[in-house]
């Protein structure tokens, strides 16, 4: 337990400093983990308890992500949502896959790395839009819905990776049945669920925690990944009480996620990592491909390449979902690459998010030849 106490105490200090200077704390939690963990000083190692808490952090992250995947709202989106999402997916996923191939990873690991390379950090993007007062721009709407598209792609990727085991049809079948039952219940009992979540007492909190723990238990019984179950559960609840459920799940997510990030850093070992030059070029490419996709999206959706600079500035950070893919499905060869990718891109991304207006003005001057 003292390991968790030390790690959390350092993280509270880190969070305090980050909030003060309005920078995203996620990369610094990981750096903290790297410093105190096996890659650094070796002060703290992971234990069963820390792994359980970190796993709960991951599940609550996915549960709240599911709450943002309201099927009706997503279905209402028009062509621009699909166009932007597909440009982002094609460029970054294929580039990520190429990178993995160059490093010499086997197919399965290459898919995991391509996913981690593709998916931006919603947490960093959204807080950058709020903190840097950019919600008024049309480009911000594009960024927010791009995050939703990436979430949906993450669900598909999780299904693909999960069906790698012995009986893919059985796994996919169970997932579809579960989704059908949960969505039918949520539709049928919308009013009651809403009333239940409006309660002021401890019951909604207990039920949210219970349902996430229950998802783990069902996952153990059926062999379907709990990560998928909690996303489906969140998406079903979003039909009835998205805002309240998020308010209830938030404290769990905040606490457990910090443990998740710091113990990810603690567990990383760079012994199997590729050379620094190779790592550096992977990271540079990750920033570059998001720039290319951003500019293309800007041109397609907003008819201005400069809008793409804004989109790039807020989507260049990789974060929680990249780590999640590496932790759940990555081999020891993938984990250090993703750790370096997340730390560097999210530091760069917090900078570009903060100064996107200046960067855009500068890009405008350069392209117009002044």
């Amino acid at each position: 337990m003292e390991g968790i106490a030390i790690a959390l105490a350092v993280c509270v200090g880190v969070a305090f400093i980050c909030r003060r200077y309005a920078i995203p704390p996620i990369p610094f939690y990981i750096i903290t983990g790297l410093i105190i963990g096996s890659a650094g000083l070796g002060l703290v190692g992971s234990s069963d308890i820390s792994e359980w808490i970190a796993h709960m952090g991951l599940l609550f992250l996915l549960f709240t992500m599911g709450l943002h995947l309201h099927p009706g709202e997503v279905a209402k989106r028009r062509g621009s949502f699909l166009k932007a999402g597909l440009i982002d997916l094609c460029i970054n996923f294929i580039a990520g896959f190429g990178v993995a191939y160059l490093i010499g990873l086997p197919l399965y690991d290459a898919v995991v790395l391509a996913g981690a390379f593709y998916i931006s950090s919603s947490a960093i993007a959204l807080s950058s839009l709020i903190d840097n007062r950019k919600l008024g721009f049309r480009e911000s709407d594009t960024v927010i819905w791009l995050m939703v598209f990436e979430d949906i792609m993450l669900v598909l990727l999780l299904i693909i990776l999960a069906s790698q085991d012995v009986s893919p049809l059985r796994t996919v079948g169970i997932i579809i049945c579960m989704a059908a039952i949960l969505f039918a219940c949520a539709r049928r009992f919308t009013g009651r669920i809403r009333l239940f979540f409006a309660r002021e007492d401890e019951l909604p909190i207990l039920v949210v925690f219970l349902s996430v723990v229950l998802a783990v238990a069902i996952a153990d019984l059926t062999g379907v990944p709990d990560s998928l179950l909690v996303i489906i559960l969140g998406s079903a609840i979003s039909l009835a009480a998205s805002d309240r459920a998020e308010a209830v799940a938030r404290p769990f997510r905040e606490v457990f996620l910090v443990v998740f990030f710091v113990f990810f850093g603690i567990s990383v070992s760079f012994s199997g990592a590729p050379s620094l030059v190779l790592l550096g070029s992977v990271i540079a490419l990750a920033i570059l491909t998001k720039f290319v996709s951003g500019v293309l999206i800007g041109k397609t959706i907003h008819r201005r390449a400069l809008s793409g600079v804004d989109i790039w500035a807020d989507t260049t950070s990789r974060g929680e979902f990249s780590i999640l893919l590496a932790l759940l499905y990555g081999s020891p060869a993938v984990v250090p690459v993703v750790a370096a990718l997340v730390v560097v891109t999210s530091c760069v991304g917090s900078f570009t998010g903060k100064y996107s207006m200046r960067i855009r003005r500068w890009c405008g001057n350069v392209t117009s030849g002044n």
């Binding site: 943002h68 995947l69 309201h70 709202e73 919603s122 959204l126 839009l129 709020i130 007062r133 950019k134 919600l135 008024g136 721009f137 709407d141 927010i144 819905w145 995050m147 939703v148 805002d243 998020e246 308010a247 207006m357």
Partner: protein, 160 residues
């Protein structure tokens, strides 16, 4: 033109109004109760933003809807259009040495000026509808209500 509204997953709800002159005003209600207000003038690439807490949001809304006709630093005037445009002003004052130790009834405030002392706040404690024998202490904050002429009379009579 009407408000265009859309859900922003993970953020809240956005309302956007494009005015006839082409300026864009967007209001974003966030999950934590705060509101961000943006104005983007036509033909200007920059956006100007304000981040408001719920109280500030309500104040701004009141001013925009015209519920408050006149907002001074220490007072507000409210118009009730249902009551033949009755206008009532509410004002606060700090009691000075001149009134200290005197009772409301002895000062004859209502019969001399027409205003009513609605409440007194002393060291964080509020007394609503103080009785005529209530004695002021220097530093009391009082809330008076009346028509603006009556408030002006009260100011001249007792506060100067």
């Amino acid at each position: 033109m009407g408000f265009f509204h859309q859900v922003l997953p993970g953020i809240g709800t956005k309302y956007e109004l494009e005015t006839d002159s082409g300026d864009i005003i967007s209001v974003i209600f966030m999950a934590n109760g705060r509101v961000q207000l943006y104005t983007q003038p036509a033909r200007c690439p920059d956006c100007y933003a304000a981040d408001l807490n719920p109280m500030e949001t309500r104040r701004l809304g009141n001013v925009l809807t015209g519920a408050i006709m006149e907002a001074e630093e220490e007072g507000v005037e409210i118009a009730f259009s249902a009551l033949a445009d009755l206008r009532i002003a509410v004002h606060t004052y700090i009691i000075g040495a001149k009134l200290a130790g005197k009772a409301i009834g002895d000062l004859d405030i209502r019969s001399r000026t027409g205003v009513t002392i609605l409440a007194v706040s002393r060291e964080g404690k509020n007394t609503v509808n103080p009785r005529p024998d209530f004695r002021f202490v220097a530093g009391d904050a009082v809330v008076v209500i009346g028509e603006s002429d009556q408030i002006r009379a009260f100011e001249q009579e007792f506060m100067e």
